[in-house]
Symmetry: C2
Subunit: 225 residues, 2 copies
């Protein structure tokens, strides 16, 4: 399948590497391809150029090109930039496609105390859906750290849960199947329409506290029944 992944952070790169490993054709989308290829490494990380040299099957394009490329789209941009990034894409390249929205409604890191820029009565996923009514937004994967997204079995044998929410039942069903078949998720709970993205996005506030207490992002939720 052709997949367009918007965003070249750790989430985008982790998804892209996993998907090409499964035989998919992936294009990562970024704001400025040349700048991305010339970008210096951030502390504790490698430059995009260096990462790309060991992930040769992953193509790099603009956000618009990655969206045009993908039959399936994934939003792995920073939440505060997501709506603006999607506005750069031609509506025809979004129409009827599924967009798995992984972003969280956090501002830029280090800008004062942690807070969501949308919560409670609305969500980032709903904002994206309103801004791009032609795409089928499915909220998923925003509740776990990147390497667990693509390898749930690496944590406790995969005995923990994921959630989906979106207004199109067919899109939710396809995403559930995709997550099971491509990444090995055992339990994906369908929460119904996109208002459920509010609860899923607000989870990040508990997640950040747990991260602080455990000193690691290697954890996930399981709903015990």
């Amino acid at each position: 399948m052709r997949v367009g992944v918007l965003g070249t952070g750790i989430v985008g790169k982790t998804l892209a590497a996993a998907l090409v490993g499964r035989g998919h054709h992936v294009m990562l989308g970024t704001r400025d391809v040349r700048r991305k290829m010339e970008e210096k490494a951030e502390e504790g990380s490698v430059s995009y150029r260096r990462w790309a040299s060991t992930n040769k099957k992953v193509r790099l394009g603009t956000f618009a090109e990655a969206a045009a490329h993908g039959e399936l789209l994934m939003n792995a941009t920073a939440g505060h930039a997501s709506v603006e990034v999607l506005s750069k894409i031609r509506p025809a390249d979004l129409r009827d496609k599924i967009l798995i929205d992984i972003a969280n409604a956090l501002g830029e890191w280090g800008e004062g105390p942690m807070e969501l820029f949308v919560a409670n009565t609305d969500s980032l996923a709903e904002r994206i859906q309103r801004a791009q009514p032609g795409v089928r937004v499915v909220k998923a994967l925003n509740t776990v750290t990147a390497h667990i997204m693509v390898n749930p079995k690496g944590l406790a044998g995969g005995d923990h849960d994921l959630f989906v929410a979106g207004n199109d039942p067919d899109a939710r069903e396809r995403v559930v199947r995709f997550l099971r078949e491509e990444f090995g998720w055992k339990t994906v709970i369908d929460l119904g329409d996109l208002t459920a993205a509010r609860g899923l996005e607000m989870l990040i506030m508990l997640w950040l506290k747990l991260w602080g207490v455990f000193g690691t992002a290697d954890f996930n939720y399981k709903i015990v029944r």
Copy 2:
């Protein structure tokens, strides 16, 4: 131990019954004792008078009397009323006591779409703590339905988690011990100061969706590591 439980809803009554069963001396606090004793049963429930006739060891008093009675206090009032209820209590009857805050920041049922009246940058628990600086607020138990609060082993043998948050480390530690010893909670995760109540209170939005999907409140979260 003498425990004052504020609120005579299903949560307050469930806690009271469990605690007297463990040999504690419990007073439930209500707005108007006479009115509560004369109240008719709500649909699908029994009247307070009838409940009290089978729970004779549970005393009933005003909010102020229940607070004066308790060495340990529990807030089981409706979230939208909690700050006002606590304002009826003499500061001397709160000073240095632990108040386990179980309330969620929900408005009255049936009043339009579900939303929290405080979220994200503040929480009900923090509002209570600011309004009553003498009491030691510990957020706990608001993430599960009433009968699981007092009998976690009744769900999957108790293999699921609870959380505490509060500004006083000694109070958090005492509440963790209390929850383990009195109700049998196996894992209680200490999230640190009361800002963590934001994430715990925002969990209700996911909880309500899960409740809708499962058709039962008999579930809880487990943090898988």
